[in-house]
């Protein structure tokens, strides 16, 4: 356990990707099975412990520490595991058995223990471990390691062990199980490459880079095809038959999570063997609904007939990864697109359709289409996607093949009203901001909150806002500070956002989509910030399709 704890600790401080790789590869090289396999599982997010919930850790610490002091500490540190690791009172007689506790012991014990025995065992481990060990154990239990290592990086480090292309691991990954003895045996040249046996596996998704100013100038429009970027959730729909001839149909999220159970209506539509990369949308009477509507279909534990009737699930297809038995990932995009069109025609189901291509010959033409999307579904369009005609389907975010070019955001000037400390990297900084705009109140103009944002600013701006918050606090509500917000005193934030919805949950009656701080307007007196009427005018035609709650 202490080797794993040390690895996590060093990774947490190491900024350079190559050094992180070296650290992980070195760990895999010098650590035996099954410990290194469990570590790989932890780093790739493949571990979860049914009964280990943050609630247990909260209960354990509440039995040992003053709740007010714990609350203030957690607010300051911004990370539950680290807070508990730091303030855990170590009993004087504790036997420091740090070196004897192995990662595999912890994991095997965790998968064996029932819910009732778990808290006692965790407490015993915490008593035994040092601060770093406690921190690592709690990170492992709660699932979020947050040491700046992606699953891809961990696999790349494993690949380096056998001097392999990480892509090879990606392709067999869905069929592997922790602690990956067969994988390490292959990487070390002691066994053959493991084979993929799942009839309907997830294939890691290909992602796009955001198009920045100036990128287009370097690109030739003849090399690219364009299509709309829809405002839903990216999914992979996989259908096949297993060795007994039974159909296997699964819907995966972008990260490979199996979400089939939430969308039985869509599963029924996937009758042809293949793997479609597409966008999950809610379509009512032929019209794509807003993301806000889709959200009401997501994260539901039970899916009943009424929910499916009110929020009909729909797949808009972007790409075809597998057609029957043919893996198309090494084919160029233009060829895959032709196969996709034929596939969709054969499937011939109203719940699955093609995302249309946007005809263009110059970037100006495409820019015009992006600025003003037409058609019934225009409000569900987030922007355009550019895909190289010759691009293979490469997992991860390869440079230069796919680009996303979002619509320009809306901008308003709002006044900072409340601030709260952030978590993770931002811990101890006031980095979550509630902002408002002016509206007529009983006693003259007053600010009404219209949203919350916690990113968009630079590190330097964060330091400046944090200092402003500390020096201009007028009231405190637990972790929240109210900061001065008067017509002539306060901080104006230029807020960018993607869309606006009516909402009964907010006092202002509006909810912003994807708000972030675009710019600090130290120059602008708060009295000159925008008014609620300005925002209401922005609702315009783009919220024609509204949710039932509005």
């Amino acid at each position: 356990m202490n080797r794993f704890a040390e690895l996590l600790d060093r990774l947490a401080y190491e900024p350079a990707r190559n050094n992180k790789l070296r650290l992980i590869t070195e760990y895999f090289r010098s650590t035996g099975d099954p410990d290194r396999g469990w570590a790989l599982a932890a780093l790739t997010g493949a571990l979860s412990f049914q009964h280990a919930k943050p609630g247990i850790i909260r209960t354990l610490i509440s039995e040992r520490a003053d709740p007010v002091l714990f609350g203030l500490s957690y607010d300051y540190v911004g990370d539950l595991s680290e807070t508990v690791a730091l303030m855990w009172p170590v009993p004087a007689e504790a036997a420091r058995a740090n070196h004897e506790l192995r990662l595999s012991d912890v994991i095997e014990t965790l998968s064996r223990l029932g819910k009732a025995q778990l808290p006692g065992q965790i407490a015993r481990w915490l008593d035994q471990l040092d601060e770093t060990g406690r921190w690592a154990l709690l990170k492992l239990l709660t699932g979020g390691l947050r040491v700046g290592v992606s699953a891809r990086l961990a696999k790349t480090a494993a690949a380096a062990l056998g001097d392999r292309d990480p892509q090879e691991i990606e392709l067999i990954w869905p069929g592997l199980k922790p602690p990956y003895g067969d994988l390490f045996a292959w990487l070390e040249g002691r066994a053959d490459k493991p084979v993929q046996r799942d009839p309907a596996p997830f294939r890691p998704a290909m992602l796009a880079h955001a198009l920045m100013d100036g990128d287009l100038a370097a690109l030739d429009p003849n090399d690219f095809m364009a299509e709309w970027k829809w405002d839903g959730i990216r999914v992979q729909a996989v259908a096949n038959v297993d060795s007994k001839g039974h159909p296997q149909v699964r819907l995966y999220s972008r990260t490979g999570e199996d979400i089939s159970g939430s969308f039985p209506d869509l599963i029924d539509a996937l009758r042809l063997p293949g793997a479609i990369d597409g966008e999950l949308l809610v379509v009512r009477e032929g019209r794509v609904q807003s993301f806000n509507v889709l959200q009401q279909r997501l994260n539901r534990k039970t899916v009943n007939a009424k929910l499916m009737a009110d929020f009909p699930a729909h797949l808009r297809a972007y790409d075809l990864i597998v057609d029957g038995d043919d893996d198309l990932r090494d084919q160029p995009f233009a060829a895959r697109r032709a196969r996709l069109e034929a596939f969709a025609a054969r499937l011939n189901d109203p719940r699955v359709d093609l995302s249309p291509l946007i005809p263009f010959t110059t970037w100006d033409e495409l820019a015009a289409a992006r600025a003003n999307p037409t058609g019934l579904d225009a409000e569900a369009i987030e922007g355009v996607m550019l895909k190289r005609r010759d691009a293979r389907y490469v997992p991860g975010r390869p440079k230069g093949l796919w680009w996303k070019w979002k619509r320009d955001p809306y901008l308003v000037d709002a006044v900072l009203m409340y601030a709260q400390r952030g978590h993770g990297k931002r811990s101890s900084f006031y980095s979550d901001y509630t902002f408002g705009v002016w509206t007529a109140g009983a006693a003259g103009d007053e600010l009404v909150p219209v949203g919350k944002a916690y990113f968009g600013f630079t590190d330097e701006e964060l330091v400046e806002i944090d200092r402003f918050v500390r020096r201009h606090t007028v009231d405190r509500f637990g972790p929240v500070r109210e900061v001065v917000h008067e017509a002539n005193q306060g901080l104006v934030l230029e807020v960018a956002f993607e869309g606006l919805q009516r909402s009964t949950r907010h006092k202002s009656g509006l909810a912003m989509r994807f708000p972030r701080i675009n710019r600090l307007r130290w120059d602008k007196p708060p009295g000159e910030a925008d008014r609620l009427e300005t925002l209401e005018a922005m609702l315009g035609p783009r919220v024609a399709a509204t949710s039932p709650e509005s």
């Binding site: 401080y13 003053d66 007010v68 002091l69 714990f70 300051y76 680290e82 303030m87 811990s427 590190d459």
Partner: protein
């Protein structure tokens, strides 16, 4: 000793009549002085030389000889109208109020101020730590009725541990990476000299390199008889010679062009803040050293208890937690909300090199 009969109105004085908290610092109206005022005043008693406590521009300044020297070094000869040096334990009277200074263990010359009248004693401790420091006099416990404490590390997550084990971590890293330089960010007054002294205690006797901003104060420490070994300026030393070297600089210099003169430097920072991982990561620190010149949570709570005070005033830092802790133990406690203390400590990223001794 002031006779109570000489000032009859003091007989039933409330603590606030002896020392009054104001946003600019605590003020003794009867004695006509402020302690560590954040604005210019007629007469100031200064606990220690850090810039958030010791400011230029007061009419008269009373402090330990070392604190006066350090203020002179930083602000020039004319930093105050007049000065009066007071040794630890020496008793003076200011308009009938008894004042003594006692070691605070924070940095060289740091003092707690005990203010006394009519049998009521208040101790303003400034910044302090109750652990050994080879570069300054150890903290002296002064029994009192009211204890004014800082709370820079006033949360139970702050436990600083043994500084020598942090130095051992540094020296392990130095031997692991003999081709790289180790750059340690350390506040220029107190922390830098303590880190050097700790490194020497651990048996490291090679030259230690200093950023120019640390020169004057470090040489002042040496002139007061504190042994720091072979110290050299980084100026005119070529890059290759700095492989495997240890160098100290103000924290802000870690990210500056200055650091590029070192071969593939390992960025290190000696501070109590390093206890919290996110703080280290925010600064891009690769080798955090948890070494603090402030009392940690256990130190704060043990000290408050040991003073026997029935009332605690908390000047700056994580005052909410410490006030809560004191009240749960049946002590009267209040935050003073003084504007300006610990500012640099709270937002270190913005700390300029010029007054790079913010006090964590």
């Amino acid at each position: 000793m002031v006779s109570p009969t000489a000032i009859p109105y003091l007989r039933r004085m409330r603590p606030e009549d002896l020392l009054t908290p104001t946003p600019a610092g605590v003020c003794c109206k009867v004695g006509g002085f402020h302690i560590d005022p954040t604005r210019p005043v007629e007469r100031a008693v200064i606990t220690h030389g850090h810039s958030d406590h010791a400011r230029a521009g007061h009419g008269a300044v009373l402090a330990t000889p070392e604190t006066l020297d350090l203020m002179r070094l930083r602000y020039g000869e004319s930093f105050a109208g007049t000065t009066q040096a007071i040794r630890y334990g020496e008793r003076i009277a200011l308009d009938g109020i008894g004042v003594t200074l006692h070691p605070a263990g924070h940095v060289l010359g740091s003092a707690q101020v005990a203010v006394e009248a009519n049998g009521l004693r208040i101790v303003a401790s400034g910044d302090y730590k109750n652990v050994a420091d080879p570069t300054c006099a150890p903290f002296e416990l002064v029994l009192c009725d009211i204890f004014i404490t800082e709370a820079t590390f006033g949360l139970p997550v702050f436990r600083h541990g043994d500084p020598q084990s942090e130095i051992a971590k540094l020296l392990r890293s130095v031997s692991l990476f003999p081709e790289r330089a180790h750059l340690i960010g350390a506040y220029s007054l107190g922390k830098a000299q303590r880190v050097i002294a700790l490194i020497r205690q651990a048996g490291y006797d090679k030259p230690i390199y200093l950023h120019g901003a640390l020169d004057r104060i470090t040489h002042y420490y040496q002139s007061r008889g504190i042994a720091l070994g072979d110290l050299r300026s980084v100026r005119n030393v070529n890059k290759a010679e700095l492989a495997g070297a240890i160098a100290l600089c103000p924290p802000s210099a870690l990210q500056e062009l200055w650091s590029r003169r070192f071969p593939d430097p390992v960025s290190s920072f000696a501070s109590g803040w390093m206890r919290v991982r996110a703080r280290a990561r925010q600064r891009g620190v690769e080798l955090p050293l948890v070494i603090s010149d402030h009392a940690d949570w256990d130190g704060l709570t043990a000290t408050i208890t040991a003073t026997g005070a029935s009332e605690v005033w908390v000047t700056h830092g994580q005052e909410d937690a410490l006030v809560h802790w004191a009240m749960v133990r049946g002590l009267k406690a209040r935050p003073l909300a003084i504007v300006g203390y610990g500012d640099e400590g709270e937002s270190e990223e913005a700390e300029p090199v010029a007054n790079g001794e913010a006090s964590a």
